[in-house]
Symmetry: C2
Subunit: 245 residues, 2 copies
DNA sequence: TGAATAGTGTCTATGAGACATTATCTT
DNA sequence: AAGATAATGTCTCATAGACACTATTCA
């Protein structure tokens, strides 16, 4: 934002906020999509979102508002972070629109949003979206892809996995988050001790116990750590030579 | 970007692109700043940047253009990635401006940009900026802080360190990057073998050798890897209890 | 009692870090 | 030869992963 010598007037752009809301439903990684009711891309699945409300609205606040309006979710209760700005010239047929994407992580919810303003919203398995079997509007596939990559990466070094869980959770539940998001399987016994060894990751929550079929599990809550040291490392996937090289 | 029922018209915003250009100069981590010639914040140091040129300009292209205009650097030759959007309502006294920040990494350059359009540009030690001894305009301190954090983090898992080096480099030079950006000291001998063990990180570049005082070093170039497996881990800093907890 | 899930013990191979040693150049 | 930097060797300790085993509940 340095000074320029000319008196030339820069163009103003429409700014939208789009949301990638990720959650686990029955051990399957899901993203929230809405069906578009108007052109362009009418009938297609798209990310929830909308335009900035007024000039004084903060981007983060706009994301919170859209979260409430379109998904009936109270964003102040869970993880919400900015993903990035998407501004390719041709991304919106109506004209130049800059979209700022946000990534939200929510615990598993009892039912998809229903009976609310967010009528057309539905949880869709991430796998289906990434594989292309659910065509998305605009450049939303790219945005979802970036969001998933961000989430996968942050599971390693941050306590993000706890954002997929409720206020308290068992270690097995936490493991299901890692397995679903990473699409891997991990040894329960090693996972058990590993996560407990990371300082500040999780801490015991009373001696409450969950109702299951076998031995009841201890409950934990998210700890104060903002980074995981040592990190939770992603298992090697030797069957698929990819990513590196 | 779902449909809304109302006929309400969303406001349009000015969109700027700001650049955090990082480099190493004499083993010290630097950021490029320019002195503002006009209000607001006249005389203060600021990030190079400017408004989007026209409606059809891509964000990335705008970053490349500003890189050329304000710093006389050819961005196509080095690392450039988006950092994020900054849109707090009060960040620009002139009115609502949304800024999309980019992070650029360049090899050490012979001299600060001089005799060009980027006259007021100067390399400033990152440490001075982060400590607050160089006051910045707007929310640019926050942006620099985020950029440095991004760079520090990416050194661990990506070959980003090679972006600080020239086309070919010695392992000792690569180590200086890690040490300057992380502000740590590492064992040269362990570093030497560690970086070579990461598949695709670096590869031998001829049997060329650099001119130094002692035994000439082998030259390397960046390999094809986009991720480092295993990662280059940041040394523990036991003297300062921070970050975690 | 058996099935199911939770939690502990133990072994081993690998890798990180500490640090001695050797190699190859300039002056 | 001295000094300097590059490269290799070796040791030790910690830990990740594999997997046997014990514990505690419900049906």
């Amino acid at each position: 934002m340095a000074d320029t010598a000319s008196e030339w007037e820069p163009p103003a752009l429409l700014v939208a906020v789009d949301l990638v809301i990720l959650t686990l439903r029955g051990s399957v990684f899901h993203v929230l999509l809405v069906e578009r009711g108007i052109e362009p891309f009418q009938g297609r699945q798209a990310l929830p979102g909308g335009f900035l409300n007024h000039e004084g609205e903060d981007l983060f606040d706009a994301a919170l508002r859209e979260l409430k309006e379109e998904a009936d979710l109270d964003g102040s209760r869970f993880h919400l972070e900015q993903l990035g700005a998407y501004g390719a010239p041709g991304r919106d047929p109506r004209g130049r629109v800059l979209s700022v994407a946000y990534l939200a992580i929510t615990p598993a919810l009892p039912e998809p949003v229903a009976g609310t303003d967010a009528a057309g919203a539905s949880w869709t398995p991430v796998e289906q979206v990434l594989s292309g079997s659910v065509p998305l509007a605009f450049d939303h596939l790219q945005i979802v892809s970036d969001a998933v990559e961000r989430a996968r990466s942050k599971l390693e070094h941050t306590p993000l996995a706890t954002a997929f869980c409720g206020a308290t959770f068992t270690i097995a539940e936490l493991q299901r988050v890692y397995e679903a998001v990473w699409d891997v399987r991990m040894d329960e016994r090693n996972f058990y001790r590993k996560v407990q060894r990371v300082p500040g990751f999780i801490e015991p929550a009373g001696s409450n116990r969950a109702v299951t079929r076998g031995r009841p599990a201890r409950m934990f809550r998210a700890g104060p750590a903002t980074a995981l040291l040592p990190p939770i490392t992603r298992p090697e996937v030797p069957s698929r030579p990819e990513e590196v090289e």
